[in-house]
């Protein structure tokens, strides 16, 4: 085991520094794309074309703004939990084939899901509850309601290509699935299943990132900022960073596990890089389009939409994928 290389992947690429930079850059692109779709300017002043705006926001919140606490708050616990959530998302991203020194294990898909769908949301929920308030409690209650549908839907949609992948000694492996996913798009029998997985995962991406029409847990005008109401200064900076990294890792997982990443080409080849960038742009623009063109749904409407367009197609796809692998 090459320890310096492991530390490099963990701390630099595609770990800490890359994930931090990529997620904030993605926030800029997302805000700019949504603004353009709505005939607005978007971030324009900080850095060339406003590209440094999310970085300026983050460092201003963390370095300059004051932390507002009450006698019931536990800000140190909230900080530790947000750091844990951020770290779990970065470590989960190391399982994706973007990592040049990757860990491959049978059933590593479940480690990814555990880190991405359990540790990260629970950290955010517990961090919110560490800074209590009536709006926070309401926001957390909404988030918990959402998570009961959204996370199983995300898990099920990613499970479709994982179940379809049959490789000796590497069952339920992220790497094996990513390298085989493009084959399922070319096979007329598995193409509809992959389409179901893609539709379901795109809907889930909006819900996981709490973007329109699923921006209910932090619904402004209704419950102030929901679970983020009591966050301020450095804590708010961390919470926003966690949100950005969550969006980045979820989008990346869809690109690799469902859309097949750069394969059949390698990451280092121009075709591979182009394919990877194109697929990522597709996921990102689809999300921005939904965000820009929809309004907020009520809680029960959102749950119904999630059930119809995310959980139901993913479940049907998974059942059909299981039948296909058994025959």
């Amino acid at each position: 085991m090459n320890i310096p290389l492991i530390l490099f992947t963990l701390l630099i690429f595609p770990g800490l520094i890359f994930s931090f930079t990529a997620s904030l850059a993605l926030e800029y692109l997302f805000r700019k794309a949504v603004a353009r779709m709505q005939r607005r300017m978007g971030p324009s002043y900080t850095g060339p074309l406003g590209i440094l705006q999310p970085f300026a926001d983050f460092f201003k919140l963390v370095r300059e703004k004051e932390l507002v606490v009450t006698r019931y708050s536990m800000p140190r616990l909230a900080e530790a939990l947000l750091v844990l959530g951020f770290s779990s998302l970065v470590v989960s991203a190391l399982y994706l084939p973007l990592n040049p020194y990757r860990v491959v294990a049978p059933f590593d898909f479940f480690i990814y899901i555990y880190l991405c769908c359990l540790v990260a949301p629970l950290s955010l929920i517990l961090a919110s509850l560490s800074m209590p308030g009536p709006y926070t409690a309401l926001g957390v209650a909404r988030m918990l309601t959402f998570i009961t549908l959204c996370e199983p839907a995300y898990f099920t949609s990613l499970l479709i290509p994982v179940v379809l992948t049959r490789q000796d000694g590497l069952s339920y492996s992220i790497y094996a699935t990513s390298t085989s996913a493009y084959v399922f798009w070319l096979n007329p029998w598995t193409l509809p299943l992959m389409a179901l997985a893609l539709v379901s995962s795109l809907v889930t991406l909006q819900a996981k990132a709490m973007l329109n029409p699923f921006n209910i847990p932090d619904a402004e005008q209704e419950i102030i900022a929901g679970f983020e109401t009591e966050f301020s200064g450095p804590l708010l900076g961390l919470a926003r960073l966690l949100h950005d990294v969550d969006f980045y890792v979820t989008a990346l997982s869809i690109v690799y596990l469902i859309m097949g990443g750069p394969y059949p080409y390698q990451h280092s080849s121009p075709q591979g890089l182009l394919l990877l960038a194109g697929k990522f742009a597709f996921v990102f623009l689809a999300s921005a389009f939904i965000r820009a063109s929809t309004g907020r749904l009520r809680v029960e409407q959102a749950l119904s939409v999630l059930g119809k367009y995310s959980l139901a197609p993913a479940t049907i796809g998974l059942i059909l994928a299981t039948i296909y692998t058994l025959t």
């Binding site: 085991m1 290389l5 492991i6 963990l10 770990g15 800490l16 460092f59 963390v62 370095r63 300059e64 703004k65 004051e66 932390l67 507002v68 606490v69 009450t70 006698r71 019931y72 800000p75 900080e79 530790a80 750091v83 844990l84 951020f86 770290s87 779990s88 970065v90 470590v91 190391l94 020194y101 990757r102 860990v103 491959v104 294990a105 049978p106 059933f107 590593d108 479940f110 480690i111 880190l115 509850l129 209590p132 308030g133 009536p134 409690a137 209650a141 309601t145 490789q167 590497l170 790497y175 094996a176 390298t179 085989s180 109401t229 009591e230 200064g233 450095p234 809680v299 029960e300 749950l303």
Partner: protein, 121 residues
Amino acid sequence: MVLTASTIQLDVYHAVVFSAIELLVLAITVYLCYIGLRSKKVRYTGVYLSGEGEEVVSELTPSVGGLYWAFIRQYARRIYKLIFERVQTGSLSDWFYYISSWLGLLVLLSVILSLLYLFAR
């Protein structure tokens, strides 16, 4: 599939331990960076309750029971309606029929499973 030299192949148990160590190292690193970066300014305030003081509510956060009933009433309406209509009719005999049929089913299941266990052993 070709596993290259830049791939660590582990079994799932070692992968869990490996990820846990990575998570720990990264969390400590991020926390130290954050401590070094963060603002030291802290302001203490009262709890924000739409401009009201803290005395307007008995508890600052909802009780566990309150959260449970809010979830059941708002988001699991069908279950709530079923329980409300079938069990809480106000008639003791309805409740007795419901609970006796349910307990009867459980007793029947336990008898069948015990017999199956005895014969299958």
